[in-house]
């Protein structure tokens, strides 16, 4: 059975910038997969190559076994993409936009599914409003609808919740989760790491065009298992300075390997007569893993 998405040694250079540098990636059918990385890591370039919007300099990419260049028709039929940019055609209403997008895929008699999309995206009352009259969040939801209009087995969402308020974000994720439960493969890029942590089963992290981590969410979290002690104090004991992750206005975040290490830290503070004004313990989360892997934790 072919993978939902497969990238083999994909490279792409723009001028002096190596946007992708030999990316290998496989996403299985039915996965909810996270693609994370700092700005400029190559996430959007990789998505563009999968969608046929950008040509790779080398390597191959396939959607459900269909090469995105040589078998582009089937590759694109199987793929829905929510682009990062908030774009729309000002000539049409929300419903017309979905109907036209449906027609581009050769789909007729799609009114029932379009109604369902409008309902799930809370757009029914705005279906006949011109795109120009919609708010940014609504336009974003129409973009999501356009990606779903041909019921693609593989759906890529490139920062889909940017500019969408919290309530609508929740309803959008409920809808996307339902699609995933129904068997659709979902690939998500987001800056909201708590979203990726809550939704994704497996995560790849990109940095400077390379995959620097690729594991299940549990695997990534356990790789950096431990705690962070967040304490408010005038300073940190000299022997613990190397373990400081962040220090800002008297608030020090210190990495601990386990709860047992907490006693050592407290002992060192007592020894140096440092008074603790406040202490909190946090288990490692995806944001900390992301910061460590991408080298942005200081």
């Amino acid at each position: 059975m072919p993978a939902a998405v497969e990238a083999v040694n994909v490279a792409r250079r723009f001028g002096q910038v190596q946007a992708l540098d030999g990316v290998d990636l496989t996403v299985g059918e039915g996965e909810f997969f996270g693609l994370l990385g700092p700005n400029g890591a190559g996430k959007t370039t990789l998505i563009s190559i999968l969608a046929g919007l950008t040509r790779a300099d080398s390597g191959t990419a396939r959607i459900l076994g269909h090469d995105v260049v040589s078998d582009y028709r089937n590759a694109r039929r199987n793929l829905g993409v929510v682009p990062q940019e908030l774009v729309f055609d000002p000539f049409f209403t929300a419903r017309q936009t979905l109907e036209i997008q449906s027609g581009y895929f050769g789909i007729r008699d799609n009114a029932a599914w379009i109604d369902e999309i409008l309902h799930h995206l809370d757009l029914t009352s705005k279906a006949d409003a011109n795109m120009r009259a919609l708010s940014g969040g609504m336009k974003r939801r129409v973009l999501v609808g356009q990606a779903l209009v041909h019921k693609p087995p593989v759906i890529i969402l490139d920062e889909p919740t940017a500019g969408v308020d919290v309530e609508l974000r929740q309803s959008l994720w409920a809808f996307i989760r339902k699609l995933n439960t129904d068997g659709h493969t979902i690939i998500l890029t987001t800056h909201y790491l708590e979203e990726a942590e809550a939704l994704c089963n497996r995560i790849a992290m990109l940095k400077a065009g390379k995959v620097v981590a690729l594991d299940t969410k549990q695997g990534l979290l356990s790789r950096f298992s431990g705690l962070t002690a967040r304490l408010v104090a005038e300073r940190v004991p000299a022997s613990w300075r190397e373990r400081v992750l962040r220090a800002d206005a008297g608030v020090h975040s210190i990495s601990l390997k386990s709860y047992a290490e907490l006693e050592s830290l407290l002992a060192a503070m007592r020894e140096e007569r440092i008074t603790i004004a406040e202490l909190a313990l946090e288990e490692v989360d995806l944001e900390q893993v992301f910061l460590k892997i991408t080298g942005r934790d200081r």
Binding site: R77, N78, G103, F105, G106, P153, D182
Partner: protein, 288 residues
């Protein structure tokens, strides 16, 4: 078109492989027809100009009418065409009709493409599985329809000034040149829209290439009235053959044999279509 692609199945099943034929469209519960994006893109192109018909249809008709009123009033008594067999006003009408066809066909495909590029909504037609030929055909046919609708409008309102034109002796020649001319300018508009990165560049293409070639093609005069040097130069202007051939349909008279014009216009159309298809297939300035 794939026969499997037209099958229909239950909703809610596993959505595996909508295109590979393994579970096909039965899985996604939709009627999918590969290669059928063309009618929708054409519909979108038509809807696009129809929604702003005041600007895209009525305004050019009014402009052509003003040209006719002014030029015929000023020149009717002073210009002799086709040895006096045809009045200047009657001579002018087919030229204005064809000029409107050409300019509006160019304007339609070029503005549609550049607007989509600059607004970013071109992505909506790049993501679906449409072939370069489908994209080409939809843009060009859309441009042809607008050009011919405007041309028909110009013909209808100017007919009042030259009613004898209704009895056009060679309608098929007129139709052939209208179709080929609008196809050429629709294709040129598509190429210009793909090439240009901003409206300014497109405007330069229109003002420095399309408009001069149109005005210097014999819309307002017969090239036999020109000095020999300019007559010779006119023969290198493909727009001259479009207008001369189109005019033959109305009068059975032309500056060059219509079959020669048809050959030249047809060759230009084929060459430009090949260029536009090559650009679309390569993704130049569209797929980065």
């Amino acid at each position: 078109m794939s026969a499997a692609g037209e099958s229909q199945g239950p909703k809610g099943a596993s959505p595996r492989d909508a295109g590979g034929g393994r579970l096909s469209d039965v899985a996604i519960g939709l009627t999918v027809q590969v290669g059928r994006g063309f009618p929708t893109l054409l519909y979108k192109e038509l809807l696009r100009f129809w929604k702003v018909a005041l600007q895209t249809i009525l305004a050019p008709v009014l402009t052509a009418l003003l040209y006719l009123l002014i030029f015929s009033h000023v020149l009717e008594a002073n210009v002799t065409v086709f040895g006096g067999k045809v009045s200047y006003t009657a001579f002018l009408v087919p030229g204005l009709v064809m000029m409107s066809v050409l300019q509006n066909a160019f304007a339609n495909s070029s503005s549609s493409m550049i607007q989509s590029k600059i607004n970013g909504n071109l992505i909506f037609i790049l993501l679906p599985p449409m072939s370069p030929f489908e994209l080409f055909a939809a843009y060009v046919v859309g441009a042809m329809v607008r050009g011919i609708v405007v041309g028909a409008g110009v013909f209808a309102v100017t007919l009042f000034f030259a009613p004898s034109l209704l009895s056009l002796p060679h309608p098929f020649w007129a139709i052939a040149f209208a179709l080929l001319g609008s196809a050429i300018l629709g294709t040129l508009g598509l190429i210009a829209g793909i090439s240009a990165d901003k409206f300014d560049q497109l405007s330069a293409f229109q003002n420095f290439i399309i408009v001069p070639l149109t005005f210097l093609s014999g819309v307002f005069y017969s090239i036999h009235t020109l000095p020999p040097f300019w007559q010779t130069l006119s023969h290198f202007n493909p727009f001259f053959y479009m207008i001369d051939g189109f005019r033959y349909g109305f009068f059975g008279l032309s500056d060059v044999p219509p079959i020669m014009s048809l050959g030249i216009v047809g060759a230009c159309c084929a060459a430009l279509a090949a260029l536009a298809l090559a650009l679309l297939a390569s993704g130049w300035k569209l797929r980065h």
